[in-house]
């Protein structure tokens, strides 16, 4: 069996980062308070920056460009996990997804940073330096919500609902690690569920894809401003 290409390894990550960045940016201007406007906007900017750097590596291998990979593919060629596709404008669900995504992402990035391919290992290490702050932000919110009964109830409800999606971010072999990390942090068991894996498309993704690619489609020769 041939070794997986860089595209095989990095495209799912790039697509996750692009789409989760987009979802995070949906809080810009309307988060519950100003600090969170700034935080989610900043995280979005980082995630989309990671996506760009990853697409550039993949584009070199495929003879394409970062923009073409981000915007010109039909929806069913995106490899993003269903977790990032969901659009949940509820604060507890937002924090639950943030916690699930950042915890799963840390596991994935750590394994990529140990890759034999220096390009893959290098970009993973770079991304991780920035992700450290996203994880701290998720931690902080987790502590804050767990500190009150109402917060804990809402968070638990959202986490249980999104748990199959969280599992689906990772390959099968790494899912137990995610379960262990979260069960320890939450001090409770998470349900046994069927993971929502890549290749499944949530209806919200079509809407996002349509909006995200609209400028590109309106100016096929390239938009300039």
């Amino acid at each position: 069996m041939p070794a997986p290409s860089r595209a095989d390894i990095l495209l799912p990550l790039a697509d996750d980062e692009l789409i989760v960045g987009w979802r995070n940016s949906e809080w810009t201007g309307i988060a519950p308070f100003l600090e969170e406007d700034v935080a989610f906007s900043s995280i979005a900017q980082n995630e989309i920056g990671h996506a760009r750097a990853l697409y550039e590596i993949v584009a070199e291998e495929l003879g394409s460009t970062a923009d073409a990979l981000a915007y010109d593919r039909p929806l069913d060629e995106y490899r993003c996990a269903p977790l990032v596709q969901l659009r949940r404008m509820d604060w507890a669900a937002t924090i639950a997804r943030h916690v699930l995504y950042e915890t799963a992402d840390a596991i994935r990035i750590a394994s990529l940073a140990a890759s034999d391919d220096p390009v893959v290992a290098g970009i993973a290490a770079r991304i991780d330096r920035e992700e450290v702050y996203h994880r701290m932000h998720a931690e902080m919110w987790l502590d804050r919500l767990l500190a009150s009964t109402d917060g804990r109830d809402r968070l638990d409800h959202a986490l249980d609902e999104l748990w199959p999606y969280g599992l689906g971010v990772l390959d099968e072999g790494r899912r137990p690690e995610l379960r262990r990390a979260l069960e320890e942090r939450l001090d409770r068991a998470l349900p046994d569920v069927e993971p929502a894996v890549r290749g499944r498309y949530e209806p919200e993704l079509a809407e996002l894809h349509d909006e995200m690619t609209s400028v590109r489609r309106s100016a096929p020769a390239g938009a300039r401003w």
Partner: protein
């Protein structure tokens, strides 16, 4: 078309780049910030290597253009290469750059230790206010106006300030 070979030396190019202000924090230069990671003159052709701070830094294109323009004014055509495969760390900010940041009210980043920074360190550690020098400061927000900065508040002089993140 091959660019005209330059007579500039690498030292002269470093000097020229040290005059270019950072687009977002103009008190320090691109050289102070440590994003210019290599300058090379080979047979009169100029190569400049730029290693961005954060991968999503929107100032990257402005930096690339500014470098090309500064060197063009000196008659050199530069090939500016952006290296995202290299790590940039806040430890690359020069001592002079750190001093300029502090003087302008930005707390310079703490040196990076072997392990990544933690929330406990940011919440409980000692961070010095660039205005009054007190370390009685608290974390207000992990994120700030640009990806590279956090917001803190000084309990002593009651001023908010921006803290460069350690990465």
């Amino acid at each position: 078309m091959t660019p005209t070979p330059t007579a500039l030396t690498e030292a002269e190019i470093w000097e020229a780049l040290a005059r270019i202000p950072d687009p977002e924090i103009p008190v320090i230069s691109l050289v102070d910030l440590g994003v210019v990671t290599a300058v090379e003159v080979t047979d009169g052709a100029v190569g400049v290597e730029l290693t961005p701070t954060f991968l999503g830094c929107p100032a990257l294109e402005a930096m690339t253009r500014a470098i090309a323009a500064e060197l063009e004014a000196l008659g050199a055509e530069a090939d500016v290469r952006v290296r995202t495969d290299r790590e940039w760390t806040t430890d690359l900010i020069t001592p002079a750059g750190r001093e300029k940041l502090r003087a302008a009210g930005f707390a310079p980043p703490k040196p990076r230790s072997d392990a990544a920074p933690t929330l406990v360190q940011l919440e409980r550690g000692s961070f010095r206010c660039p205005w009054c020098g007190s370390t009685d400061t608290k974390l207000e927000n992990l994120f700030g106006p640009t990806p590279c900065r956090s917001l803190r508040y000084c309990n002593a002089c009651r001023q908010p300030f921006e803290q460069f993140k350690t990465i």
